[in-house]
């Protein structure tokens, strides 16, 4: 980062990325999913183009049965794209993920972390 930019950030002349009056992540899991998708890409398990192809497929299949006016949950598609890609690459089977998800959902409250 340039010194110029650093000083602008420090004295608050430049707003942080999320402060444009809109929130980029509505819920913490969305941020986490984005972080996982980028980490795995940076670690070389897939290229971003491969991820993009899965994301486009998810979005297209949703749009095929829904209108523009219906509520659209971008990060649902993003998460589905990531889990598809993990299965496609043989890194994490969907069945295994389903099982773990069920086990986590069934945890007694207060013992789920």
């Amino acid at each position: 980062m340039t010194d110029e930019l650093e000083s602008m950030l420090l004295d608050g002349r430049v707003e942080p990325p999320k402060a444009n009056g809109e929130v980029i992540f509505d819920e913490p899991w969305q941020n986490r999913t984005f972080g996982m998708a980028r980490s795995l890409c940076e670690a070389g398990y897939y290229t971003w183009d491969e991820f993009r192809a899965c994301l486009i497929q998810q979005i297209e299949s949703w749009q095929a049965d829904h209108s523009e006016q219906e509520p659209y949950q971008y990060f649902d598609h993003f998460l589905a794209a990531l889990t598809d890609l993990m299965a496609l690459k043989g890194l994490c089977e969907t069945r295994e993920l389903d099982q773990r998800s069920r086990a986590f959902a069934d945890r007694p409250h207060g013992h789920d972390h």
Binding site: M1, T2, E4, L5, S7, M8, D11, R13, V14, E15, P16, P17, K18, N20, E22, V23, I24, D26, E27, P28, W29, N31, R32, T33, F34, G35, M36, R38, S39, L40, E42, A43, W48, R52, L55, I56, I59, E60, E68, Q69, Y72, Y74, F75, D76, L79, L82, T83, M86, L91, C92, E96, L97, R100, S101, F104, A105, H109, G110, D112, H113
Partner: protein, 213 residues
């Protein structure tokens, strides 16, 4: 707050967890067990995008282009090369194209298929950018949509919409607002909004121009 209350609130948060939140947690736990991911790496990525990747980087380029004709020329002819010296993080600028707004032509950026966006210069895209309505309407009826978004453009102004492809990412070079003569690059950068670099806003002679910096 006493311990009982704390405990209660903590449990309550977990009861509210959505199926997506649980699935995300399950996926992360499996990938960590398999040695594909570390919690630390995910935290680092998140912190990086939250703190270092954002529209302040694009704003810096715009302000420099306004004051440095030679840089502007380089930015418009090969943006990826022109920004290499900045070492911006975040990626998605391997084939960056910067398109210039003029009094005759207004540019806007979209990704019709998903959500492609030049992260290293604009940060992560806002929610509306990813919505089906923006993605289709900005192509189908850009003038009407921009007007709805608060940017009514004169009919004489041509509108060009740039659709991201597998490789190419776009950023708009907005026009420099009036009454900003004599401002430094830093002061100018502070006037540049994210939306003006997507092309859904034009920068007016800013009220912020008079503020002490």
């Amino acid at each position: 707050m006493n311990d009982d209350q704390k405990h209660h609130d903590h449990d309550h948060d977990h009861e509210e967890k959505s199926p997506q939140a649980i699935r995300t947690e399950a996926l992360e736990s499996l990938l960590i067990e398999k040695g594909l991911l570390s919690e630390h790496a995910v935290d680092d990525v998140i912190a990086n995008y939250a703190q270092r990747v954002g529209p302040m980087n694009g704003a810096l380029l715009v302000a420099r282009a306004w004051t440095d004709a030679e840089f502007k020329q380089r930015l418009l002819s090969n943006a990826t090369q022109a920004i290499a010296e900045y070492d911006f993080q975040g990626g998605q600028v391997d084939h960056l194209v910067v398109v210039e707004n003029t009094p005759e032509r207004h540019n806007a950026v979209v990704c019709t298929l998903c959500s492609c966006y030049p992260w290293a210069v604009l940060g992560l895209p806002p929610k509306w950018y990813k919505d089906p309505a923006y993605r289709s309407r900005i192509v189908r009826e850009p003038r009407a949509l921009l007007a709805e978004m608060g940017l009514p453009l004169d009919k004489k102004i041509e509108i060009r919409v740039w659709d991201s492809s597998a490789e190419v990412r776009y950023m708009v070079l907005p026009m420099r607002p009036a009454h900003t003569e004599g401002m430094t690059q830093d002061e100018l950068a502070a006037l540049v909004s994210r939306d003006s670099m997507i092309g859904v806003e034009v920068l007016e002679a800013s009220s912020r121009a008079g503020q002490p910096s």
